[in-house]
């Protein structure tokens, strides 16, 4: 099983007056995670879109342990936790060194530009399987 790691530095504009990252921004980081995983798997999301396959978010969830702060280096670890013919779920962990900041997941359905549900292309399903979490 492979995992995809990407690193980012917290932007000032991502914090709020509580002094830590506003909770909505983690979804943008998750987006970096799955985009990077798909690119590494050989299927850049921008190419999928141009080919008529979109993966809108059906549901998301995020659970916090510690808040990320401005200028922190954060590692986003992404795996696939479920892959079916028409839907895929990604699972994420955000880490600052050895501290787990949060865990989350996003579930996506595959649609075309007219919003009709489509089968995920076979190659994408196959490539995602390499990142499938054990028992996922």
């Amino acid at each position: 099983m492979r995992t995809f790691d990407t690193e980012l530095t917290v932007r000032y504009g991502e914090t709020d007056k509580m002094g830590v990252v506003h909770h909505s921004n983690y979804l943008l980081w998750f987006e970096l995670g799955r985009t990077g995983l798909l690119r590494e798997a050989g299927y850049a999301y921008s190419d999928l879109e141009r080919g008529g396959f979109l993966l809108p978010v059906l549901e998301y969830n995020c659970k916090f342990h510690k808040g990320a702060e401005y200028d922190d280096s954060v590692l986003v670890n992404t795996v696939v936790s479920d892959i079916r013919s028409r839907a895929v779920t990604f699972h994420y962990e955000c880490w600052r060194n050895d501290t787990l900041l949060c865990t989350g997941w996003t579930r996506h359905v595959c649609v075309d530009h007219d919003n009709n549900i489509q089968r995920i292309p076979d190659g994408v399903v196959e490539a995602c399987r390499a990142y499938l979490r054990d028992g996922g």
Copy 2:
């Protein structure tokens, strides 16, 4: 049981290239919902913060049915689905006329400025009970 309704108009900058609202922005709308509920209940969140009571988000969830579009009028309906001595959960529905766009919830813990867990002030607990969903 009371519910709190607030209305907003979708901003252009809240959309993404899929043509609908980016999924992260619903969390900002949920924030308008619970902020408005607390104010109506007699406890403006800004006053709570000044009094040393913060309500950071511990976990959130959102499930989508339809995407909101630019310039849509969206009604956010907020209730309390759980209230305990140190934690509170709000539940949200976003509607465009008769169309349910999404449902979500956010769970919060009460802390002070040093991030130590605190009891939610009695008055706030009492006031929130008026918005407690049946069977919530």
Copy 3:
């Protein structure tokens, strides 16, 4: 000369760790201002877009006097400071009661969906003239 006023309440997620609104968010407020002005003038921007007329931002500027804070009521006052056959400039002031928070402007060119420069429809030019700042 008419002006267009719109009011908003500052969202928690719009603040940053300095405790005031992050400077980038004023551009979203300006967007509410010109969108509202165009709607009041009889030309909803969403209709213009559907008709093939887009108004991307060519240049923007914002100068700050005071920072807006969470939960503040902010009034955005919008006028047209220049209108030509293919470009329009809007000018904005953000106020909290009698305190001027910032002034700014955005300059837009009219293009079609293929990004070719177009004449702004005559009716829009005419309607915008009613909001033209004296000596603008």
Copy 4:
């Protein structure tokens, strides 16, 4: 004269329904540029803040030539265009390969945590001079 270059990949959530990056997001990229420049110069902005020196934005400007698209690699080139005892101006260019996307600037004043104007620490002024644009 030194310049500071930093590279970023455009996030999906940074685009809007026009299909390109929403104009407000360039300010977040500028923030990455000046933050990186200061860190390279030996003065991490997070350290300056902890030391009681903040650099809020007094005014900003951005002029667009081409729109950045999702998944583009964008290089942000940052220099200092003016440095005085209490204020500093940074100048930015965003490039996609050989295409200039936009140019912009932000002017900052130095204040303490009570919002009183302060002299920028001598070491910071000195370090910034190395990045001062010719004739800046």
